[in-house]
Structure formats: structure tokens, C-alpha cells
């Protein structure tokens, strides 16, 4: 794993904060795009739509971060050089929660968890960073994520939790090779 638990220390410089923030969004875009494709492949159009909307949201967020970054030169980090609290970027979907029959409620729950993780990440950064400008930006990012959390929570109210047999598929898996 990229980090042993308990050693997360987000005392970033401006460039580092930005590169992490950008990575969060870009990885989230990729993640949601992949999930959109997967859901489409499996005919789960409702959730595909949801994931697609999220990928657009994240892309917009990424664009905003790019604009904020402006001309600041961002370090080129190897994938494992990012300092995430867990294994992956906070907004990376945990595949264990993905299922081809997943309901919108579950998709949103996953997304909500991501936004909350991202918020926690930026809060931690806001606390730890020593530079005022960095702290202030980190706080701004945290607030953005808080906003996303609110959206997800609101969105969730439109759906009901899944039934007990949500993953029942009368058709068995297919052996294609």
C-alpha cells in the first residue's frame, strides 16, 4: 500500500495542495467515467446516468482547480508519491461497493462517502498546513466538498434504500470464453 495507516501528514506547499486537489478530481472523473461505461455495459442505465452526471461535476471542479492553479508549476508525482490518507485518493470509488445491479441509492451513497472523504482530507490539510495562503485555499476546497456533500445528501433523499433482494438476478452468470 502507498501509506501505512496513521502516518498521514498533509502539510503541503501550495503546489502540493493544488496537485493533490487536481488529482482528486481527475481521478474521480476517470473513476466515474469508467463506472458509467461499466453500468452501460450491464444495462444499468439509471446508475450509468448518475455516474455520468458525477463525472461531469468532477470535471467542472477539476477545471476550477486548474484555473486557480493558473501558472503555478505543479510537481509531477508518480502515482505512489501522493500523500493520501488511505490507499487511494479520497474520491476513488471502492470497487467492493460496486455491483452491476446497484441502485441509484447505493451509487449515491458511495459518491457521498467519497465527497465526505475529500472534505475530511481538505479539512485536515487546512489544519496542518503552515502557510496561510495554503490553509485558506485548503479551507476553500473543504468548503467546496462540503457543498458536494450537501448535494449528494439532497440527491439521496430522492431515492429509497434498496430492497433486501436488490442483487437477485434470475439469470445466471454467463461463461463467454
Amino acid at each position: 500500500m502507498s501509506k501505512a495507516p496513521g502516518t498521514f501528514s498533509p502539510s503541503f506547499s501550495m503546489a502540493e495542495l493544488l496537485v493533490h486537489a487536481l488529482a482528486i478530481e481527475l481521478e474521480a472523473v476517470q473513476s466515474y467515467e469508467d463506472l458509467t461505461q461499466q453500468m452501460k455495459q450491464c444495462g444499468n442505465d439509471e446508475v450509468a446516468d448518475l455516474f455520468e452526471k458525477m463525472s461531469v461535476l468532477e470535471a467542472e471542479h477539476a477545471e476550477r482547480i486548474r484555473q486557480i492553479a493558473g501558472d503555478i508549476e505543479l510537481p509531477e508525482l508518480a502515482p505512489w508519491e501522493y500523500r493520501w490518507p488511505g490507499l487511494e485518493s479520497p474520491e476513488n470509488i471502492d470497487l467492493a461497493g460496486v455491483h452491476y445491479l446497484m441502485t441509484p441509492y447505493q451509487a449515491l451513497t458511495l459518491a457521498l462517502e467519497n465527497e465526505m472523504n475529500a472534505m475530511a482530507f481538505f479539512e485536515a490539510a487546512a489544519n496542518e498546513c503552515t502557510d496561510d495562503r495554503v490553509r485558506s485555499l485548503a479551507q476553500e476546497f473543504a468548503d467546496d466538498e462540503r457543498q458536494h456533500v450537501a448535494w449528494m445528501q439532497d440527491w439521496l433523499t430522492k431515492y429509497t434504500p434498496p430492497d433486501a433482494d436488490w442483487d437477485y438476478d434470475p439469470d445466471p452468470p454467463a461463461a463467454i470464453d
Binding site: M1, P79, W80, L95
Partner: protein, 277 residues
Amino acid sequence: MSTETPRKPRASDYKSDTKPVWCPGCGDFHVLLSLRKAVAQMGLRPEEIAVISGIGCSSRIPAYMNCYGFHGIHGRALPLATGVKVARPDLTVICAGGDGDGFSIGGNHLLHACRRNVDITYVVMDNEVYGMTKGQPSPTTAPDWDSKIAPGGTGISPFYPLVIALASGANFVARAFSGDPKGTAKILVDAITHPGFSFVQILSPCVTFRPDQREWKNQVHPAPVKPTSDASQAARRVMTDDGFNIGVLYKGSREPYQQYVGQENRLDRDIDKEFLL
């Protein structure tokens, strides 16, 4: 006139247009991501990478990257990859497949590929089941895992891939976890860069036939020691391995196989002199 420095490759540069057939939630999606991240990090050109596989869910991976690929026959990915690399040492050759393809029908080739130590990287996506054929035990499945074909379990001890690879002479032995694409990417970069035969077992849960493997993310842990270049030390470590140690176990210094096809074509016209009476 501005000369633009070529931008650093991104993982998305190595995506093909082909949509994976894998079940959503399959660990292989993240393995694919890790592989793309790894080759992007190394800056390899897509056309200089050959991804060679056998048959099974994991073996579908070549088509999902826009590199050269060969989806071969069951169990024969390693000899296929060996042929490609020996003929074309200029290519980066990545061999891929699952635990059935690699350890059961492909088991013999694994032993000899490790011995031969050709400079390829073998990635086995281990989900301790035959997924493609709908849920039979594989050589890494626990003996008491119930299935239709072996009710109550096979009763046979599982195969320990890292032990076998190490004992057979692999020059690089590691275990990764699909749920950690970045860590896996790092291990893959290490494996591909390291000369000789690199073996990477990637625990990659099967969402459809092994839902119990959701627990793996809580069971895996970084190996508490750094990689060793001492094979006997690696052997001692691996004998107490709980199957969830993540990291590079062994980085050896065996000379890789050198007898490649050369660049020049040098057939001597006088070759038939030896038959002259």
C-alpha cells in the same frame, strides 16, 4: 516557433476503445488501471508494449490497452510471451492471466519461465476461483471452499505461487492488491524495470463468485520488511507468509536470459560447405 515539450503520458493514453467484459466490482479493473499507470509512469510508448495472455477473465486484459496484444490459448501465455520477447527484445513484454490459467494448466510453464529468466513481467490476477467458467476451485482456492464441481471443497492443499516462483528461480517476486492501484502501479514499475523474469501475484477479488473476498481489503497489509536480494532469506520469509503480505519479497541478481534474436540477418552463403564431400 515554439517547441512543445511532449507531455508526460497519462494512464488514459493507454486505454483502448474496447469495453471490458468484466463484472462491475471486479478487481481486474483496478489491475488494468495500475498497469496503465505503471507504463505511463515509465513513459513507454504504447506500440512498444506487448501484453500477452491466456484464457480466463483476467486474460481478456490485452484488448483493454491500446498496446500490441495476444490473447492466446489456455495456459500457454508464458511460452507465447517468451517467444515474443526472445524474437523482439526491444519490446516490453507483459504476460497476464489468472490463477487458473497460470497455476493449473499453465503451471508447468510457470516453473520453466522462472528458470529461463527471460526479461518479461508476469502478472497473475489471483481471485482463487475459475471465474470465467462460473465458479470452480482453482489451485489457490482453500481446500474447504464449496462448489458444484467439488462439493464440500477439493480437500487439496492450495498452491503457493510466491513459494513456487521463488523456488523456480524468478528474479523478482512480489504480491500486490488490486484495491491499491497506486501501490500496485509502483510494484509493477519495479517489476517491469527489474531485469529477468518478474512475477507479481495480484490479489484481485472476484465480485461474482467470491463475494467473501470483499474482506480482503481489511486483511491485506504492507509486508513489514523491505525486499531482499537473498533468496534463502526470501524463502524463510515466504514460508511464514499469511497470504496477505503486500510488497516486493525478492529482487534477485540472476543474469537474465540473453539469447535473443539479433538485429542482423547473417546467413552465410557458405553454410552448405559442411555437406560437401
